[in-house]
C-alpha cells in the first residue's frame, strides 16, 4: 500500500510541474494583455486563475500522498518549514519553500480586493522564484528526477518559461504600451 502512495506522489508531482508551467505561461500572457487563439483577454486571466487553483489541488494530492508514505519519512512540519526533513533535507526543503510561496501567491490572489493591488502584485512576483525552485525540487528530490523522460520534460518546461520571461522583458511585451505612451497629437 505504501508503494501506491509513493506512485501517487511521483505522478502528481509531474502533473503539478506541467500545470504550474501552463499557469505561469498564461500569467505572463495575461500581463501582456494579449488574447490566446480563441480565448479573449479576460478568458486568459480566468484560465490562469483556474489552472493556478488546480495546481494547488494537485499540490495537496502530492503532499498528502507523500505524508502517508512512511518511506518518505516526511512530517507535517517538514512540509511547511524548509530544510528540516530527515531524508534529503535540502531537496525536500526546496519543495517546502515552493509550497510556502505558492500558498502566499494563491492566498494573496484570492484576497486581492481586501489586500490591495500593490500587496497582490509584490507577492505575485514570487511566482518567478517559485517556479524554478519547484523545478529544482523535482529534479533533486524526485525519484524520477534524473531519469531521461523527466529531464526532457524539465528542459522543455524550462525553455518555455525561460522564453516567456525573456519576452516579458522586451519592449513589445505589453500589446498597447506604444499606444499608451505615445503623446497625444
Amino acid at each position: 500500500m505504501t508503494e501506491a502512495f509513493w506512485a501517487l506522489g511521483r505522478a502528481s508531482g509531474v502533473v503539478l510541474l506541467l500545470l504550474m508551467t501552463v499557469s505561469m505561461l498564461l500569467g505572463l500572457l495575461t500581463r501582456s494583455g494579449r488574447p490566446l487563439v480563441r480565448l479573449p483577454r479576460f478568458g486568459v486571466l480566468l484560465a490562469h486563475r483556474n489552472i493556478a487553483l488546480l495546481s494547488v489541488v494537485f499540490l495537496g494530492v502530492h503532499v498528502v500522498s507523500l505524508l502517508l508514505d512512511p518511506y518518505a519519512q516526511l512530517k507535517l512540519i517538514d512540509v511547511v518549514v524548509p530544510f528540516g526533513a530527515a531524508r534529503a533535507p535540502i531537496a525536500v526543503g526546496l519543495g517546502a519553500v515552493a509550497l510556502d510561496l505558492m500558498l502566499a501567491v494563491a492566498i494573496t490572489a484570492l484576497l486581492r480586493r481586501r489586500l490591495g493591488h500593490r500587496v497582490f502584485r509584490v507577492v505575485h512576483w514570487a511566482a518567478y522564484v517559485l517556479w524554478p525552485i519547484a523545478l529544482l525540487h523535482g529534479v533533486t528530490a524526485g525519484s524520477d528526477g534524473r531519469s531521461l523522460p523527466f529531464l526532457a520534460l524539465s528542459a522543455f518546461t524550462a525553455t518555455a518559461v525561460g522564453a516567456a520571461v525573456v519576452w516579458r522583458m522586451t519592449d513589445h511585451f505589453v500589446e498597447y504600451r506604444r499606444i499608451r505612451t505615445e503623446p497625444a497629437r
Binding site: W6, R10, L39, A47, N50, L54
Partner: protein, 125 residues
C-alpha cells in the same frame, strides 16, 4: 451567447480539459508505477537471492536512492520502523546462501515502470 459568455466558456473548457487530463495522467502513471514496483518486488523475491532478499520487508525497489546508495531508515509495511533499509536487492545474501547453495541469479530484473523507475539488480553468487 455573447462574446463574454463565449470567452468564459472557453476558459472553463480549457480548465476542465486540463483537470481531467491531469487526473488521467496521475491515475495512469500512478497505476503504471505501482504495478512496476510490485512486479519488481515479485521478480526480486522470485529470482532472487534466497534467504537474504526476503529478510526485510522494506520496499525493495526503494532500497537505493538516485546515487545507488542504500537508503537508511524507512518503515516496514506494517508501520514499524525498519532498523535498516534493505540493501541493494540481492546483495543481502552476499556469498553463497546456506539454504540454496550458490545462487545463480544475476543481472537486472529488467522490470521498469517507464518513468525512471529504478531497476533493481541481483548479483548474488
Amino acid at each position: 451567447m455573447n462574446a463574454r459568455e463565449q470567452g468564459r466558456q472557453a476558459a472553463r473548457s480549457l480548465t476542465t480539459v486540463l483537470a481531467l487530463s491531469g487526473i488521467a495522467v496521475v491515475g495512469g502513471m500512478g497505476v503504471s508505477l505501482y504495478t512496476g514496483i510490485e512486479a519488481a518486488k515479485a521478480a526480486t523475491v522470485g529470482t532472487g537471492s534466497g534467504v537474504g532478499a526476503s529478510q526485510s520487508s522494506a520496499p525493495l525497489s526503494r532500497s537505493q536512492d538516485q546515487d545507488g546508495q542504500a537508503v537508511q531508515g524507512g518503515q516496514d509495511d506494517d508501520g514499524t520502523q525498519a532498523q535498516q533499509a534493505a540493501p541493494a536487492a540481492g546483495s543481502s545474501s552476499s556469498g553463497s546462501s546456506s539454504s540454496s547453495g550458490s545462487s545463480s541469479s544475476s543481472g537486472s530484473s529488467g522490470v521498469s515502470a517507464g518513468f525512471g523507475f529504478p531497476q533493481t539488480s541481483s548479483t548474488g553468487s
